[in-house]
Symmetry: C2
Subunit: 295 residues, 2 copies
Amino acid sequence: MTRADTVDITVYLKEKKELVDRLLDSFLPSSAVPPTILHSAMRYSVLAPGKRLRPILALSAYEYCNGDTTANDCPIYFAMGALEMVHTYSLIHDDLPCMDDDDLRRGMPTCHKKFGEATAVLAGDALHDEAFALLARTGSTQAVMELAEALGTMGMIGGQIADVEAEGHQVTKEDVINIHNRKTGALIRCSVRLGAILADADSDTLTQITRFGEKIGLAFQIIDDVLDVEGDTKRLGKNVGSDSKKKKATYPSAVGIEQARKDANNLIEEAVSVFSEYEDNILVHLARYIGQRNC
Amino acid sequence: MTRADTVDITVYLKEKKELVDRLLDSFLPSSAVPPTILHSAMRYSVLAPGKRLRPILALSAYEYCNGDTTANDCPIYFAMGALEMVHTYSLIHDDLPCMDDDDLRRGMPTCHKKFGEATAVLAGDALHDEAFALLARTGSTQAVMELAEALGTMGMIGGQIADVEAEGHQVTKEDVINIHNRKTGALIRCSVRLGAILADADSDTLTQITRFGEKIGLAFQIIDDVLDVEGDTKRLGKNVGSDSKKKKATYPSAVGIEQARKDANNLIEEAVSVFSEYEDNILVHLARYIGQRNC
């Protein structure tokens, strides 16, 4: 198991973010190749500044499970590219006028604001495909199935439709947890699972990693909700207060802002506690970073 | 190789269409399972009456290559379900107001007319995923890659954006062929290739099947264009004359209706000629059916 006693999480994140950006740049089709408008839209949305949390979590889980990263074409790199591409596809479609109708994303105009609605729909669709093409390069149909299920009606898309349907209604804490676990949680859980699966982790480790992913996935989205109330637009790169304006089902709207913070912290502690013997590994650092993030 | 001397193509198509419908019904999530609205929209669009041409082509190519269909979970069934699901996903997204803005499909209101635009976008996305989940069950990452590439920016989506961009412009025959080969041809080519790949065909047979798929794919779309001019709405299940109303790049608009018919017939003959020794196999019958279809 990788120990991280000496790791500075800020340095680690910066290095891995640069790695993800390089991978994405090399995996994405060139904007000089036709259809140029579509390739430009895909690159615009994917390469916009992002935290790259999902690919970094996948890599960290892979490293934790002793996956090999010495080869240039090691499977985790394909999975990392795929994860950021599907995350971006979901953002592009969620931002569409018929969905959340957002103008700003990652500090820039949303894809449909910049390229028009038809191109945005197709850019999302194309990233969705490109992700599966990449993931197939791992040689693992299990990995393909994991991602498809995390994205599908029992995962992200199911969460997105529940989110749209809940708009304007009073929701309970359980309703919000249910939406968050699918809309955001499923892909974060999938990220760490892909890392473990591609590193050929044993089933006990996969169970441990899965539990870790579930806890940080929910914590991440609760903190996202809190930041939508308390953060600032410039740092977040998207309009704050938009959840409340759209009467979205948010965790703070169900339990209040103080309790939301407390629950997020508890979830981070529960995530960390899956590693009783390895308190200081890189996944623990990442969990604490997620708990403390302000953008 | 399967011979079809005694096969009545009408009976064959009816039987296989029923098989595809049964497979789709079993693969699609139940509309009683939440998210019910999304599952209902997916089932509504996929199970609407369709020719099921792509899955039938895949199965016929698989049978031609001596693929085994005795097991209940033989890989071609998953590919057949996946092909019809991605075809339907592409129809749902193409029909959206920001794309072709169509009201009628397969004789019924389009998905967004029936369920609203947000649900239609997500139903398309979910079918896109479901298809990859199914295809992963074949155990073949090559199959996953084939489909992802056929759908991507060098295939179907590339053709769709070129189609949208060409609207209202005078186009040459070569432009239209280029659009058709990607927008419709890539998935038809992929259908027969998946059949051959999952039957472990040798590389000569795969090349032959690929050439066959390319020819019938282009012929199919040219005939589609002709029927949009000459067909009737009731039989086609979609509004006729809509291509010309939208100033779409169609083959007849580039070469005239008579030449379009001739070129389609020639393509069918070229497709059939890849099987010099097996003039009467089921793929030959299917090619001739495509050449003569009127709906």
